[in-house]
């Protein structure tokens, strides 16, 4: 009798333990990210016109072997996907006009690699690396290459 009681208690405990751990999958719609922190590494400003920046974004994506899914100049939006063996990345970039000669770029990306679930990229270094590639492309463009 005592053993049965103990067993019941244990299974109840295990049940509570696991449901406590489990995240409601609907929570992924809002995703608990700190918007100010996220913005700090997803945004970069450029002293170029929107058109120049937007064109450079597309050529950077091509340099990195991305395929463009969507592009709209009016809103300055580009969405692109890259697939390599065992990994994929999808990103959206928005070039927004700040003034006549300055443009703000915001980029957000999702990545899945090594059989893991796709998830938002929260590593600032990844964003930094992309902006470095974009800097290079803008430089090349200004040199006419």
């Amino acid at each position: 009798m005592k053993i049965i009681k103990q067993g019941l208690l244990l299974s109840l405990f295990v049940g509570v333990f696991f449901t406590g751990c489990m995240q409601n999958s609907k929570q992924m719609i809002l995703e608990n990210q700190q918007s100010l922190k996220v913005r700090s590494y997803q945004i970069k400003k450029y002293d170029k016109t929107k058109k120049e920046v937007a064109r450079a974004i597309v050529s950077t994506l091509q340099d990195l072997s991305f395929i463009i899914d969507k592009a709209d100049m009016e809103t300055g939006t580009v969405t692109a996907t890259k697939l390599v063996k065992g990994a994929s990345m999808r990103m959206t970039l928005i070039a927004r006009k700040q003034s006549k000669t300055s443009t703000q770029v915001r980029l957000n990306a999702q990545f899945s690699g090594g059989g893991n679930m796709p998830e938002a990229v929260t590593d600032p270094e990844t964003y930094k690396a992309f902006f470095t590639a974009l800097d290079k492309s803008l430089f090349l463009e200004s040199q006419g290459i």
Partner: protein
Amino acid sequence: MIKILQTILLLGLVFILSGCNQTSIQMVKLKTTSLNERQLQTKSYDTTNESEILSSSVATLQDMGFNIDEINRDFGVITCSKTRDAREVGQQVGLFFLALFAGANVMDSADHTQNIRATVVVTPKEKLNKKTDVRLTVMRVLRNHKGMVTGVENIKDKSIYQQFFDKLSKSVFLEENKV
């Protein structure tokens, strides 16, 4: 002695496994070859009529059997795709003999269909040299007969790009002459 061997083996294994795994930062880092690839994928045309080049590009892609997924005139971007047969005689024969010795399951690793996606970007270089640049990038996803992905590849063959630009040059000529 055995312990040292074991350590080396373990280290080797870790090395191999970590080498395989792609990280998000690797996806957005430029390779040293990317400037070369850019040149390979780009061709300049002696015209400032961006619109005409864009229309010719669409026509060429249609000639090649692509369906247009996305097009934006202001950006000069065209994205298109098609799904085709990916079976190659060499691979099929090789796998047939492997199946004879290793069992029937190896046929799952045979490529069956391929989904080809391409982006064309038309960039006017009016200020610079009164030319218009066209850049093509192509990738393909290979699947087996069950629809599972067996491979992903960014196309880097020079001849594929050359042939596309040959076709495009013809298309530009046809468009100019309203054929």
